[in-house]
């Protein structure tokens, strides 16, 4: 989880990723940032994120992104 927060902070330094729960709905992460994030996650955690998983509920908070990574690792 800490590594994920680091990745997110590198992409968007001004956002508090530990508390923000509307990263997509609040437009903290736009489509192009999502592309960077997906590439980083896939490289760092060795998972493949299918496009159908790119939905707001999976990317609205660091927690939900982490849950997605864990689910894909299984």
């Amino acid at each position: 989880m800490e590594r994920l927060i680091e990745i997110l902070e590198e992409l968007q330094p001004d956002v508090d990723f530990r508390t923000t729960e509307n990263l997509i709905d609040g437009r903290y992460l736009d489509s192009l940032t999502i592309l960077s994030l997906v590439a980083e996650i896939e490289e760092e955690f060795g998972v493949e994120i299918p496009t159908v998983e790119i939905i707001p509920s999976n990317f609205n908070s660091a927690k939900s992104i982490w849950a997605l990574i864990k689910r894909l690792e299984e």
């Binding site: 437009r27 736009d30 489509s31 592309l35 960077s36 896939e42 496009t51 159908v52």
Partner: protein, 529 residues
């Protein structure tokens, strides 16, 4: 025919509501379907056949895809060691079925909307290469809303393919999803999971739903009759003959067209969503105060939301996150870093999105130009975002500051105006001509003194009505932007205040609405796309 036709909204729909409440719950979805098909046949006559073909195709394609999914799962269950091979094999089968479904539905759209454009341009190319052969050029009248229901049809089979939803075995529900009467002309492009279950629920029309629906519909009428229809004459007069007017009048018509388009389209959405509310059907919102956006990229998450989401889910992410693009992203990130690396695949996907988005609006170079204009603006916005951020930090400008936010929205609106200029222009050349006129021949004071502003279909009273109505819409939008649920707040007021508001709204539409002699009602603009 338009949803603003009083016979439709104040006669046909209320009769439907009465019958709908009288018939048993199970019959209600069938009644909705009959009414929807009745309206479709009334508008598009025998072309309704193409809607039926689309429905039947996605129904069977969906079931076939579902069967393949289930068969694959059973095989994996029996042979867990061969999971990967089975998955790969069935993925290929599914892809073939999906492609068949896409081809059927896209071919109808191509035939009605793009064949003429394709043939004309192919003939130009053949002439250029001096090949003595010409394709037949013929323009066919398309079934109403084909651009909207085709995207809905594609989203249904793509969602079944991606296993986001299960295929529906009930053909009435699938038919209603694609043909529900308030949505057939201008959308929104709902997803199956958004509306299908509500459409089939057959819930009774309650007094609250009835009042709430008409409350929303009245606001739509307010926007359309007080603002959009009043601006129509100005827009068509100046756009069709811009050379005869000054730059200031041309600029006024561009602003007028943008406002007219917003009021017509969002006003129609108020009617569509309000009509859905009668039946307890939650139709997704298509607008969210677009002119408060801080940049063009955000604007497109607030304007025609359902179309933007469709392109994002079915074009942008599948293209930018395809295997080859992911490889490209990794290479580009190593070369260009984390910020700019993903922009390469992002730009390719964005190009595809905006090329198709332009084309979706119509087979014409003005629409393609419009799409490319949005593509370039969004791309440049992303490229320069870190630089602007750094400059603001250095000169200590807080980008969250209210004044800076207002400046951003004004700048964004200026770029929207230019985009809409080309969107409405009779040709790309005319668009540039008009733009040149605005920037080189503005002459605001002399135009004002000459009285030209009063010779383009608007008199002093029209300007006052438009101005006041726009202030009302602006205040409502501002309150919505600040998360006020205005409709709920009005509902909670005591009955006197509530009805004073309703009467003011109704009277303002009756007294100040632009209808009758001397006015040219706006045709449903988006219904033509």
């Amino acid at each position: 025919m338009s949803y603003f036709d009083p016979i439709y909204i104040f006669f046909a729909v209320p009769i439907l509501l009465i019958i709908y409440n009288l018939v048993p719950k199970k019959v209600r979805p069938i009644l909705l379907l009959l009414f929807s098909f009745g309206l479709f046949i009334f508008i598009s006559k025998w072309l309704t056949l193409f809607l039926i073909l689309s429905i039947v195709s996605i129904y069977f394609i969906g079931i076939f895809l579902d069967k393949l999914n289930k068969k694959r799962d059973l095989l994996i269950q029996d042979n867990p060691d061969n999971k990967k091979e089975i998955k790969e094999k069935y993925k290929k089968y599914k892809k073939l079925v999906l492609i068949l479904g896409i081809l059927i539905n896209v071919s109808f759209l191509f035939f009605f909307k793009y064949l003429n454009f394709f043939a004309t341009n192919t003939n130009l190319l053949l002439n250029l290469f001096k090949i003595n052969y010409q394709l037949k050029v013929a323009k066919y009248i398309a079934p109403i809303g084909i651009s909207f229901y085709t995207l809905e049809a594609l989203s249904y089979i793509l969602d079944v393919y991606n296993e986001k939803i299960e295929a529906d075995k009930n053909i009435i529900r699938v038919s209603l999803y694609l043909s529900f009467f308030p949505q057939i002309m201008e959308g929104p492009i709902a997803r199956y999971s958004d509306t299908a279950s509500d459409l089939y629920a057959g819930n009774k029309v309650t007094y609250n739903n009835f009042c709430s629906g008409y409350q929303r519909i009245l606001y739509g009428f307010f926007k359309k009759l007080l603002i959009a229809d009043r601006l129509n004459f100005l827009v068509s007069t100046v756009f069709d003959n811009y050379a005869s007017y000054s730059g200031a009048t041309a600029a006024l018509s561009v602003i007028g067209y943008t406002i007219m388009l917003y009021m017509e389209f969002s006003g129609t959405m108020d009617i569509v969503i309000g009509t859905g509310e009668f039946f307890g059907i939650k139709i997704p919102e298509n607008f969210r105060q677009p002119f408060f956006a801080k940049n063009i990229s955000e604007f497109w998450t607030r304007w025609h939301i359902s179309l933007g989401l469709w392109f994002k889910d079915y074009i942008f992410y599948p293209v930018s996150l395809s295997k080859s693009m992911k490889k490209l992203t990794l290479k580009a990130r190593n070369l260009m870093g984390n910020r700019f690396g993903p922009l390469v695949s992002g730009a390719i996907a964005l190009f595809a999105v905006w090329f198709l988005n332009g084309l979706w609006h119509g087979a014409g170079y003005t629409f393609l130009f419009y799409g490319m204009y949005q593509f370039i603006l969004i791309l440049l916005g992303n490229i320069f975002e870190p630089t602007i951020n750094n400059i603001c930090k250095k000169i200590k400008i807080n980008r969250q500051n209210k004044i800076y936010r207002v400046f951003q929205s004004i700048k964004m609106t200026f770029f929207v105006f230019i985009g809409e200029l080309f969107f409405r222009a009779t040709s790309v050349k005319a668009g540039f001509g008009m733009l040149k006129k605005i920037f080189t021949n503005f002459h605001l004071i002399s135009t004002f003194k000459s009285g030209e502003f009063l010779k383009i279909g608007l008199d002093g009273k029209d300007y006052v009505v438009i101005f006041i109505a726009l202030i009302v819409v602006f205040i409502i939008s501002l309150l919505k932007e600040k998360n006020h649920n205005i409709r709920e707040e009005i509902n909670q007021k005591n009955i006197c205040i509530k009805w004073i508001i309703y009467y003011l709204l109704i009277l303002s539409i009756i007294i100040f609405g632009a209808y009758g002699f001397g006015y040219l009602p706006v045709d449903p603009i988006y219904a033509d796309f």
